[in-house]
C-alpha cells in the first residue's frame, strides 16, 4: 500500500464519525435557522435580534468573557509558573488544582449557589460572626452586580485549571537552556518570563485562550443556577427559544450566532498569537 495514504486512511473513521454526528446535524440546524416552513428567510435572525432581552444577552455574555478570561489567564500563568518550578510534588499540585475540572458546570453552579444563597454558607458565616442581622440577598433580582460577581467567581473556580494544565504542559516543552541563557545574559526572573517564557509559550497560550473563550461563550449552567433569568446569556436564550418558546428555528439561529462568535474569536487568536514557522522551537 502507498505509505502516504496510510495516515488519511487511519483518520477515516474519525472523519466519518464527525460527518455523521456533527456535520450532518450542523447542516440541519443551519437549514432550520435560515428557513421557516421550508422557505428561505432571515426572519429567524430578525426575531432573535428583535427580542427585548437580546441586547442584554449579548452584552452579558461578552462582558463575562471579557472579565473571566483575562483573570483566568493571569491566574493560570501564575499557577503554571509555580507548578512548573516545583521539584517535587508537581503532579500532586496539578491534581489538586485540577479537581474543579472533574465537576460538571451545573454542579459547580450549585456549589456556589450553596455559598451565596439566602440561607447559604456565606450568610450563615456572616450572621454567626455577627456582621449582619438578616441574611443578604446576594442573588436577588435587584442585585445584578452581585449575581454577576458570583458567576465570575464560579467560572474562575471552575475553569482556570483547564488553562493551567495546558500551560504547564507548554512550559514543560520549553528547553531549560533558554531560561539559563537568559539568566546568564542578565534577565531578571520577570524579564525571563516576559522575554522568554511568554513568547515561547505562544502555541499553548493560543490553545488555552481559544478553548477558554469558546467555553465562555457557551456559559449556561452556572449562570442558570446562580442567576436564573436575572442574568440572561446567549446560551440561556437559545435554550429558552427551544424549550420555553418552542421555536426551533429561532433557537437554531441563536445557536448559529454563538458558533459565529466562537469562530470569529478563534480566528482572531490564531492570527494574533501566530508563531512564524522559522521562529518555532
Amino acid at each position: 500500500m502507498n505509505g502516504k495514504a496510510l495516515p488519511y486512511l487511519l483518520l477515516m473513521p474519525a472523519t466519518l464519525f464527525l460527518c455523521v454526528f456533527f456535520l450532518y446535524p450542523f447542516a440541519l440546524v443551519a437549514f432550520e435557522a435560515f428557513t421557516r416552513d421550508g422557505a428561505f428567510t432571515l426572519d429567524n435572525f430578525r426575531t432573535m435580534a428583535g427580542s427585548w432581552k437580546f441586547p442584554a444577552t449579548v452584552r452579558n455574555t461578552l462582558l463575562l468573557a471579557a472579565i473571566v478570561v483575562p483573570i483566568q489567564l493571569a491566574m493560570a500563568l501564575l499557577m503554571a509558573s509555580v507548578v512548573s518550578r516545583l521539584e517535587t510534588g508537581r503532579s500532586a499540585a496539578l491534581y489538586i488544582f485540577a479537581i474543579p475540572l472533574g465537576i460538571s458546570d451545573l454542579a459547580a453552579g450549585l456549589i456556589w449557589l450553596a455559598i451565596f444563597d439566602q440561607s447559604g454558607f456565606l450568610n450563615t458565616l456572616l450572621s454567626d460572626l455577627g456582621i449582619v442581622d438578616r441574611p443578604i440577598m446576594f442573588l436577588g433580582y435587584q442585585s445584578k452586580l452581585s449575581i454577576f460577581i458570583a458567576v465570575v467567581l464560579a467560572e474562575i473556580w471552575r475553569a482556570t485549571a483547564i488553562m493551567m494544565v495546558i500551560l504547564v504542559a507548554g512550559m514543560g516543552l520549553i528547553p531549560r537552556e533558554y531560561h539559563e541563557a537568559a539568566e546568564v545574559f542578565g534577565a531578571s526572573p520577570w524579564k525571563r518570563f516576559v522575554r522568554i517564557t511568554l513568547p515561547l509559550l505562544r502555541p499553548s497560550l493560543q490553545t488555552a485562550i481559544i478553548l477558554r473563550v469558546i467555553l465562555a461563550f457557551e456559559v449556561f449552567a452556572v449562570v442558570a443556577a446562580l442567576g436564573g433569568t436575572n442574568l440572561p446569556v446567549l446560551m440561556g436564550e437559545t435554550f429558552n427559544w427551544q424549550f420555553t418558546l418552542q421555536d426551533r428555528n429561532v433557537a437554531a439561529a441563536s445557536a448559529l450566532l454563538i458558533l459565529a462568535i466562537s469562530i470569529g474569536f478563534t480566528l482572531l487568536f490564531l492570527r494574533v498569537l501566530r508563531v512564524p514557522r522559522e521562529a518555532r522551537i
Partner: protein, 346 residues
C-alpha cells in the same frame, strides 16, 4: 580584573559524584582550557562557575569576590552553551543584542557591538534570520557572538567549535584566540579536542572522572604528564607504556633493556615514552612491526613489544616492512616513569 578561584568544589547528583574536590585558580586574562573525555564533569564545573549549578561543597571566587550566593547575572560572566541555546523566537540580531538590551545600553551602542561581533564571527549576512533557519555551525557562531558582545570580564565556553567543519574550525580557533587576547577577558574553554586545547590554551586543566589531574601549560602537560591518564589521553598517538622491573636501585629492566631510572621502593613501576621519542637503530627495545601507516611527514609504525602494543613515529625515509624486527631506542631525557598504584608520575 577577574581572577577565578575554585576552592574545594564538589558536586553530587543524588548518589553520583560528578566532581570531587576541585581546586583551580585561573589568573586574570588567562585562557584556561578544561580538557577531558565525555562525562568527566567539564560542563558541570563550568555551570558551577556560571552559577547555574550550586556546588555541594566548596567556594567560588571571581575577581576577589565570593560569588556562591550570587545569581549568574551578577557574576560578570558570559557563556556559550554546549547546545547553543540560541533563542528560537528572536532573530540573530536580537539574540546577540539580548544581553546588551538587558543592560539597557543605548540602541546605537547595541547596534555597534552586534555588528562588530557578527563580523568577527562571519555571520553578518545572517542577522535577520531566525535560529530555525541556521545550520548547527552557524548557530554555534551566533552563541559565541552573543557572549563576545557582552564584553564580559569572564567568558565561559562549552565546546563552542564542536559543530564546525575542520577548515572553519581551524579558522575560528585562530580568530577566537586573537579576539579573546585583545579583549582582556579571562576565559574558561571546555573541549574534548586536544589539538584545540593545545593550540588555544595558556594552561590546560586535564580532567578525569570528576577530578583535575593536571593543570599546566600545553607543553608541560605534553612533555611531563603528571599522571598516567594524562599521558594516555594527550598526544595522538598517545604515550607508550611498558612494565619495568627493578634491576638494581635506580635501574630498571624494560623489555630486556636495562635503563637508569628513579629510586623507588617498589619492585615494579611503569616506563613511558612518546612515539616520536624513539629512534630505530642497533640497540633498544625489541619490536616486531605489525602495521605501517605513512602519514606524509613521518611514518607511524605499530609494533609488538613484549606482547604489548607499542607505537613509534619514524622518519618517512625509514624503510620498514610488516614483520621486520626493529630495535627502538628511547631518548633518555624523554623517558617518564609512573607509579602503577597511584598512577602518578615518579
Amino acid at each position: 580584573m577577574a581572577e577565578i578561584a575554585i576552592k574545594g568544589v564538589a558536586k553530587r547528583f543524588g548518589g553520583f559524584t560528578a566532581l570531587h574536590q576541585v581546586d583551580l585558580t585561573i589568573a586574570d586574562q588567562e585562557f584556561m582550557v578544561l580538557l577531558g573525555a565525555s562525562g568527566c564533569g567539564k560542563t558541570t564545573l563550568l555551570r558551577i562557575v556560571a552559577g547555574l549549578e550550586t556546588p555541594s561543597q566548596g567556594e567560588m571566587w571571581i575577581g576577589g569576590r565570593r560569588v556562591d550566593h550570587l545569581p549568574p547575572r551578577d557574576r560578570g560572566i558570559a557563556m556559550v552553551f554546549q547546545n547553543y541555546a540560541v533563542f528560537p523566537h528572536l532573530t540573530v540580531f536580537e539574540n546577540i543584542a539580548f544581553g546588551l538590551r538587558m543592560k539597557k545600553l543605548p540602541q546605537q551602542e547595541v547596534e555597534r557591538r552586534v555588528n562588530r561581533t557578527a563580523e568577527l564571527m562571519h555571520i553578518e549576512q545572517l542577522l535577520k534570520r531566525y535560529s530555525g533557519q541556521l545550520s548547527g555551525g552557524q548557530r554555534q557562531r551566533v552563541a559565541v557572538a552573543r557572549a563576545l558582545a557582552m564584553e564580559p570580564d569572564v567568558i565561559l565556553m562549552d565546546e563552542p567549535l564542536s559543530n564546525l567543519d575542520a577548515l572553519l574550525r581551524l579558522e575560528m580557533r585562530a580568530e577566537l584566540k586573537g579576539v579573546l587576547a585583545a579583549s582582556k577577558t579571562t576565559t574558561i574553554y571546555v573541549t574534548h579536542d586536544q589539538v584545540e586545547a593545545m593550540s588555544l590554551a595558556d594552561r590546560i586543566a586535564v580532567m578525569h572522572q570528576g577530578r583535575i589531574v593536571q593543570a599546566a601549560s600545553p607543553v608541560e602537560v605534553y612533555r611531563n604528564p603528571a599522571a598516567r591518564f594524562v599521558g594516555s589521553f594527550i598526544g595522538n598517538p598517545p604515550m607508550n607504556f611498558l612494565p619495568a622491573a627493578k634491576a638494581a636501585n635506580g635501574s630498571w629492566s624494560v623489555a630486556g633493556l636495562t635503563l637508569p631510572g628513579p629510586k623507588s621502593d617498589r619492585q615494579a613501576i611503569e616506563f613511558a615514552i612518546r612515539p616520536e621519542d624513539v629512534e630505530a637503530g642497533e640497540a633498544g627495545l625489541p619490536a616486531i612491526v605489525r602495521v605501517i601507516e605513512p602519514l606524509g611527514p613521518h611514518t607511524l609504525v605499530t609494533c609488538d613489544v613484549e606482547g604489548g602494543l607499542f607505537r613509534a613515529v619514524l622518519e618517512s625515509s625509514a624503510t620498514v616492512a610488516v614483520g621486520d624486527r626493529l630495535r627502538l631506542a628511547p631518548k633518555p631525557e624523554r623517558i617518564r616513569w609512573f607509579d602503577p598504584e597511584t598512577t602518578h608520575a615518579i
